[in-house]
Amino acid sequence: MSLKVIKAGILDTIQDMGRYKYQYLGINPGGVMDRFAASIVNILVGNSMNEAVLEMHFPAAAFLIEQPTIIAIGGADFFSTINGEPVPLWHPILINKNSVLQFEQLRSGARCYLAVKNGLQADKWLGSYSTHLKANTGGYKGRALRKDDAINFKRQSNYSRFFSEKDSIVLPWQADIKWTGDQNDKIFIIAGNEWKMLDNASQYHFLNQPFTVSPVSDKMGYRMRGANLTTNNGFELISSAVSFGTIQLLPDGQLIILMADHQTAGGYPRIAHVITAHLPVLAQSRAGAKINFSMTDIETAEKLLMLQQQHLLQLQNACTFRLEEFLNQ
């Protein structure tokens, strides 16, 4: 065994970028909430960006690492320690066997990601390692991790030559998580097909008042608290497709933003969609966070997504080079 759960967390699951091609059967894609962070921790350990990672919520599990490997931690800051020593986010870390990895304090964000070099051995279902909790399949036995669970690494590596007395070695390069187009405090949205169903006052409120992430929010969707929105001619829609980031208007005038574990179809008005490049920010927002929406267009949404993707590719080139250089020394 390679990674053993010595204390359970509240919701720690194995996830990759999601299970696609089966939505026509009602099987939702799921996958990580924050694709940007999950991609970067994978990049840091030299994995492909869509390798399966551990997605953790606070309080997170504590792990005994039974074999030496390279890990990276990113996303939310849970104040991670190895054998009691604090270790930073967004660095590759050589971790020795019999080390205890813990997450001690919720400092910022909502979801923390752990990548392991070469990935984790997990159950693949319909092309994805993502844990599908409802169907109870994929990932680790189709469920969240519990005490005494043990997950193998896909491959063992011998890093003993790097260790002397120290338990872990934080490699000196840090991933740059700032990408161009990231410098704003608003969540960009594009209009949904039912945007015009909102009356003028509601459109104005939606774009000019903050909405608060309510405590009844999970990986399926965020319930938002804010101004009560009303429609010109409210009517029920027959079911049709929705997407990660779709903002629906519920019959009580409140909003729900569909997140990674959303159902494949819905019948509530789709008044807007969060742009893909801004989903990671939303994914790291906790209950109580205030969200300001800003309307943009599809050109901008695509441009920002391209910039984000380019940033990841550049990061991948740089980190792969640094890691190979280090391991071959």
Partner: protein, 238 residues
């Protein structure tokens, strides 16, 4: 096709596009959608991730990053995908007969499973036996799947047993439960909270996680379904 009904194409966020024929349930429209769906599955558009049919709409999920490789720098992936979709709408498609399957599904309408039979009978001023016979009398089309893995939206249910959704959804509906809401009928594949009026239960598995391909779900969009009645003894020994 060529699709002869008016339609609209709109973006569903920056990574998906929807072709929509309007807010109604129509068998002919759905047949066109399912044909286009299978045609797109066989020959996907460049950059397409997947295609998902619904009652009167079809949505293509795509990767704008991949689509960019095929297009001019100043063009949006959305515009290009929408043009490709328009072209496909104009391409003649094969008849649905080559695709549609007919499945016979056993249902036990015993009161042990058909919790809402009496309620429907009272509401509609007919007997429980009438409700069952009316539910059995039709050949249903699987218009779409959604809500849960393998959950089928079938129709159209005879108006005489049309029922609204329950005001208080049950906290747990057992897998195999057959329900009615509006003029739709469907089968719960997994234990789930649910608001449909439950008329019976099938011993068949609608969803199977041991299967690692599309056989995970018994029903597919465009299938035809006939229910037949079995006794509680037959159900238990199935």
């Amino acid at each position: 096709m060529i699709i002869d009904a008016p339609y609209r194409i709109f973006s569903l966020g920056d990574s998906a596009i929807t072709l929509d024929f309007g807010n109604f349930i129509d068998e002919k429209i759905n047949q066109n959608i399912i044909r286009l769906f299978y045609s797109l599955q066989r020959a996907p558009l460049p950059g397409m991730i997947e295609v998902v049919p619904a009652y009167s709409s079809l949505t293509i999920y795509y990767d704008p990053w991949q689509v960019k490789k095929f297009i001019h720098q100043n063009e949006t992936s959305y515009k290009w995908i929408s043009e490709q979709l328009e072209k496909r709408i104009q391409t003649p498609l094969e008849e649905e007969n080559n695709i549609a399957r007919l499945l016979k599904i056993p249902v036990c309408y015993d009161k042990e499973f058909g919790f809402d039979l009496e309620l429907i009978a009272n509401e509609k001023h007919i007997s429980v036996e009438d409700v069952i016979q009316i539910h059995l009398s039709k050949n249903y089309r699987v218009y779409m799947l959604g809500f849960l893995p393998g959950f089928s939206y079938m129709g159209l249910v005879d108006e005489r047993i049309e029922m609204p959704r329950k005001l208080q959804p049950r906290l747990r509906v057992e897998p195999g439960s057959v329900g009615i809401t509006g003029r739709q009928t469907g089968i719960y594949p997994l234990p789930s909270p649910g608001g449909w009026q439950i008329v019976g239960r099938t011993p068949l598995k609608l969803f199977e996680t041991n299967s690692n391909d599309e056989a995970a779900c018994l029903l597919k969009p465009g299938d035809n379904v006939i229910f037949y009645s079995i006794t509680i003894d037959e159900f238990k020994s199935y």
